[in-house]
């Protein structure tokens, strides 16, 4: 087979076939285009502002390593004026995190960025090893996930940083969209598609600049730029449900590589139909995400609406949905479902208000952002999820199911 030439420079041999459009690119053009696209996402979504201090959530894995490398490159190339630092979380799992933390330490030297490591032990008084010792392997991912989410924010707060970026890629977002679709959790589906989470009222803003980058291209970028990353799998049980969603996505990608970005875009479009949730796609038109954006706002960009007509149908459906009072019940928080299920002993599934608008949904209070009465961390409940889990752990009777 005669080697194909790069469609961009037309001189070098093509080494990469892009999943999103089948374009064949040489190494140099691929690296440039990959970086340009992340730059486009950053500028069109107005992700950063000059002088901003930004913490990169760094695990030593491919995604966060590529994110750190690309952000450093773009910050210098386009003079973003960002102050970039690495923030790592040590869950306290012996034989798992040690090697990846070593990788992050090397990254800190390679990218000349200061590194801070925060441990679950110092934040919560529990390492994951101790959690598993107490509750067993089943359900430990819930604890780890809840703790990690807060740990990055708390770590950022300790450093007086108001913006954390994570390496979530298009495959991750597609996977989450699918999972939430399969769980019937539209409210969370909507939030998971946003490139920015947290708003002006929350103390730490989160964003995912690689949201439109294929995992395949992230791995190839790391390979061709010879980046130093570490691959590992948590020694405690993997999340079976996420694993199934992941396999499905990868199989779909084999058959139709565009499927991944298509799912991301479908997720964004579905998010627009969820009342009260903030729509967010690559905001090419410079829209800022705000929590109560009305459904008719044009959030087109990066293809989510390109090529579509006026969208009358969508607007009409949207209007109808908003008029439907039942929407109040759509916003369900895990913690709320948890406390409900604790009372009734029922599983969360049964507590979820059904879309047809029943009594419960009218009684359900709308989420009001406040602070946890114990730790002061931002929470829509009296007591935040982490404190609830900790209470259970501390009483050594952690039977809370999510």
């Amino acid at each position: 087979m005669a080697p194909a030439l790069c469609v961009n420079c037309k001189t070098e041999r093509a080494l990469i076939k892009r999943p999103k459009n089948h374009a064949k690119l040489c190494k140099t053009c691929f690296i440039t285009i990959f970086e340009d696209e992340v730059h486009h996402t950053i500028t069109s979504s107005q992700l950063f502002h000059r002088g901003e201090k930004v913490a990169i959530g760094a695990s030593g894995g491919k995604d966060s390593t590529v994110l750190a490398s690309v952000l450093k490159t773009l910050n210098e190339r386009h003079d973003y004026g960002l102050d970039l630092v690495l923030l790592s979380i040590d869950e306290g799992i012996k034989g798992y995190r040690d090697d990846s933390l070593e990788t992050v330490k090397r990254n800190a030297v390679q990218y000349d960025m200061p590194l801070t490591v925060v441990g679950y032990d110092e934040l919560y008084g529990w390492t994951m090893d101790q959690v598993v010792e107490t509750i067993g392997k089943k359900g430990n991912c819930t604890y780890c996930g809840v703790f990690r989410r807060q740990a990055l924010d708390r770590g950022a707060k300790m450093l007086s940083i108001k913006h954390v970026v994570t390496g979530h890629n298009a495959d991750d977002v597609a996977e989450t969209v699918l999972m939430n679709l399969l769980r019937g959790d539209l409210a969370r589906l909507s939030r998971s598609t946003s490139i920015v989470t947290g708003d002006n009222r929350s103390e730490v803003k989160r964003s995912k600049p690689l949201k439109y980058s294929y995992e395949k291209e992230i791995v190839l970028y790391a390979h061709h730029k010879k980046l130093d990353y570490f691959s590992t799998e948590c020694i405690y049980s993997p999340e079976a449900f996420r694993g199934s969603a992941r396999s499905l996505i990868k199989q779909l990608e084999r058959v139709r590589p565009t499927a991944i970005l298509d799912i991301v875009r479908s997720g964004e479009d579905m998010a627009r139909l969820v009342p009260g949730e903030s729509p967010s796609s690559c905001a090419c038109k410079g829209q800022k995400t705000s929590p109560m954006v009305s459904g008719e706002d044009d959030i087109g960009g990066c293809g989510s609406q390109n090529g579509r007509t006026s969208g009358n149908e969508m607007a009409a459906m949207d209007k109808q949905l908003r008029e439907n009072e039942a929407h109040e019940g759509l916003e369900v928080d895990v913690a709320m479902a948890m406390s409900e299920s604790k009372k009734t002993g029922a599983k969360k599934q049964k507590e979820l208000p059904i879309r047809s608008g029943n009594g419960t949904s009218k009684n359900a209070p709308r989420q009001v952002r406040g602070n946890c009465s114990r730790c002061g961390y931002m929470s829509s409940q009296e007591i935040c999820q982490a404190c609830m889990l900790l209470e259970g752990l501390n009483k050594n009777r952690a039977q809370i199911q999510i």
């Binding site: 087979m1 080697p3 194909a4 041999r13 093509a14 080494l15 990469i16 076939k17 064949k24 190494k27 695990s59 030593g60 894995g61 491919k62 995604d63 966060s64 390593t65 990846s100 390496g167 495959d171 995992e215 395949k216 992230i218 791995v219 190839l220 390979h223 061709h224 990353y229 570490f230 691959s231 590992t232 799998e233 948590c234 992941r246 396999s247 990868k250 199989q251 990608e253 084999r254």
Partner: protein, 110 residues
């Protein structure tokens, strides 16, 4: 002539990364002498290499982390001399002496 080809072996270098090393003795790089033809007498291609690796090189019993339904598990990328195998004919690519074949997983976390 057929006898000569049948007994011949192709020297190649096979690399594993992205977490696949753990299936192959925790070792990234392996020098492999691949039979030049498969059992049916056809020249060795990537499909044959994958079978061969499962039978002869893999120390880990979890074959399904590498192969699923007789094909490479989706989510594992193959680079043939640094080029995406999708540009080279994927499983049908005929292996040449001194080829460098890299299997890199996208499936593992950080």
């Amino acid at each position: 002539m057929s006898n000569a080809t049948e007994s011949a072996a192709i020297p190649i270098v096979v690399d594993f990364s992205g977490g696949l090393e753990m299936l192959f003795d925790d070792q990234r790089r392996h020098s492999v002498s691949l039979p030049a033809v498969d059992a049916g007498g056809k020249p060795a291609n990537i499909a044959f290499l994958i079978q061969y690796l499962c039978k002869n090189l893999m120390k880990d019993p979890r074959v399904d982390l590498f192969v699923l339904d007789d094909h490479l598990r989706p989510g594992i990328l193959v680079l043939i001399n640094d080029a995406d195998w999708e540009l080279e004919g994927e499983e049908a690519y005929k292996i040449q002496p001194h080829d460098n074949i890299l299997f890199v997983s996208t499936l593992h976390g950080g």
